[in-house]
């Protein structure tokens, strides 16, 4: 148990290490949305790879602007295809960079999911939700209400705050559920209790009703996590949509936003597969040694993953309150 705990420490401390928010200095050439608060300080691991990803992401970001202009000016299928593929690639790299709720998705999967398939569904649905939110925000504020790009982008941090609170809420719910379930099983399955060991984890086989109940719970948790991630619009999509609007081509921007979300979904899916697969492997191997240990690890993951979500939600929320405003002219 102690050994496991030691192994878990890095996993649990990692997001904490990220919690120092980077303060963006004011620039004389600020663009809308760049005051988005949720950028965290760089950790030591993998930073070279990360920076490479950032460089690629920027290349595709710039390329998107001219691709979008080309579609608008030429109205040709080849220009359209160019924009879709560049947006898709931007999405792939963008999702590997900051934001996009990847830590949230993986923490949630770590805590509450054992099916790879549902992990992928979660990745795709939350990416589509983020694209839809971006389209809705720009569509309502900039197109319908006539907000400027700057004004539209400045509402994003407010929406993000709601998302962060929801994320923390899902974490609290996961922990509460895990703790409550322990009590529940203690009362209902007292017959299976091992009296020689004062441990509330019993190795009993779940009945069909219990499996069904767990599945419903899983979908409920998934819906909650998709809603909380999806509420936060994709920053890249917001900028592309605002840019598209300045070119008088909102629908082309929406097309680009969707292509982007397919790209982000693929990256996040890869992470989801890796997370669920390695979690299951750890549980299975632990189960071969000792099934109680496996259950204990699973419970630790639930509580730890829930705690991660709470900490991340609160840290991101706090960061969003102290983010400096950017002058725009």
């Amino acid at each position: 148990m102690m050994k496991k705990a030691r192994i878990f420490v890095p996993a649990l401390l990692l997001p904490l290490a990220l919690s120092a928010t980077a303060v963006l200095a004011q620039s004389p050439f600020a663009v809308p949305g760049s005051d988005a608060p949720a950028e965290l300080a760089e950790p030591g691991f993998f930073s070279g790879l990360l920076r490479y990803i950032m460089a690629m992401q920027q290349e595709y970001y710039r390329a998107m602007a001219s691709a979008l202009r080309a579609v608008n000016l030429q109205q040709s299928a080849s220009a359209m295809w160019g924009l879709v593929s560049i947006s898709f690639l931007y999405g792939v790299f963008h999702a590997a960079g900051p934001g996009h709720g990847k830590i949230v998705v993986t923490s949630y999967l770590l805590a509450d999911e054992r099916e790879v398939k549902r992990g992928i569904v979660l990745a795709f649905l939350s990416a589509f939700a983020q694209a839809l939110t971006a389209i809705a925000v720009v569509g309502v504020l900039a197109v319908l209400l006539g907000f400027s790009s700057r004004a539209t982008a400045s509402t994003v941090p407010i929406i993000e705050r709601a998302s962060f609170i929801l994320i923390a809420g899902v974490g609290v719910w996961l922990i509460w559920r895990t703790l409550r379930r322990k009590e529940h099983s203690h009362h209902d399955h007292a017959h299976g209790h091992d009296h020689h060991c004062h441990d509330h984890d019993h190795a009993h086989m779940p009945g069909p009703a219990e499996i069904r109940e767990a599945a419903t719970r899983g979908w409920k948790g998934m819906a909650a996590i998709i809603a909380s991630i999806g509420l936060r619009p994709c920053s890249g999509a917001i900028l592309v949509l605002l840019f598209a609007l300045t070119q008088g081509a909102f629908t082309i921007g929406a097309l680009s936003a969707f292509a982007m979300s397919v790209g982000t979904a693929i990256t996040v899916s890869a992470l989801a597969i890796l997370t669920v697969f390695s979690k299951n492997m750890a549980l299975r191997l632990a189960g071969q040694v000792d099934s109680r240990r496996s259950r204990r690890i699973e419970k630790m993951l639930r509580i730890g993953g829930g705690a991660l979500l709470v900490v991340m939600g609160l840290v991101l929320f706090a960061g969003s309150l102290t983010a400096p405003a950017q002058p725009f002219f």
């Binding site: 192994i7 620039s27 050439f29 990360l50 460089a55 920027q58 590997a96 900051p98 390695s278 040694v289």
Partner: protein
């Protein structure tokens, strides 16, 4: 056997940690890109007197900077563009126009920028800004070479030389002077930066990516 399994559990848990690791975000990165040309302007005595700078902004910034401004068939109103240039230079003054001239490792004092002008190019959809930054005291290059770097220390803006005609000279540049340009490879810089470049606010992240233009003249006889 049991020990082996424990080891496997550990390996699987490490894999889990790795699954979480690449999600950690990087901090500073450019949000605005500028393509640049510069001009080394020499006075009649052959001293480096001022730096002429042309910046062409990326499509995103160009679109946002001119958002809401009325556009006619001829592009944007001259007065509007002049106003934009004036505001830009006013804001840039506190950053020394992102311009750094050094000689023998010492910074050279710069004056207030003049001749600010904004232009819109309809074909590329890009806005540009040209201006001149004078050296407070013209610099005699025969005694020591000068180095010019133009960069945003926060790296919010990435400023890169155009391939086409990046650095020109005007005026009476002394005979035998050489102009060299050294541009760091962006990918290599990203891969080799120390962590402190991101975490230390005084580290001038943007400086790591800045092109250095070095002007050296043979010693006066």
């Amino acid at each position: 056997m049991r020990g082996n399994r424990l080891w496997s559990i550990r390996a699987a848990l490490v894999a889990l940690v790795l699954a979480l690791t690449p999600v950690s975000p990087a901090a500073a990165h450019p949000h605005v890109w500028i393509d640049m040309q510069t001009e080394l302007q020499f006075d009649a005595e052959g001293r480096l007197a001022s730096i002429g700078i042309l910046w062409i902004f990326d499509e995103f910034y160009s679109a946002f900077a001119l958002e809401g401004a009325e556009k006619t068939a001829d592009g944007y109103d001259e007065e509007l563009l002049a106003g934009l240039a004036a505001i830009n230079l006013e804001n840039l003054a506190e950053w020394d126009y992102f311009t750094e001239v050094t000689t023998s490792g010492q910074p050279v004092a710069l004056g207030a920028a003049r001749d600010g002008k904004s232009t819109w190019d309809e074909a590329s959809g890009r806005l540009s800004l040209s201006f001149t930054v004078p050296l407070e005291t013209p610099l005699q290059l025969e005694s020591a070479p000068a180095e010019l770097r133009i960069f945003d220390p926060t790296y919010y803006i990435s400023i890169d030389y155009l391939k086409d005609n990046p650095v020109r000279q005007t005026g009476a540049m002394p005979a035998g002077c050489t102009v060299e340009r050294r541009t760091p490879d962006v990918e290599n810089v990203w891969l080799s930066l120390p962590e402190s470049a991101f975490t230390d606010p005084s580290s001038q992240l943007g400086a790591h990516f800045a092109t250095i233009v070095r002007v050296a003249c043979p010693p006066a006889p």
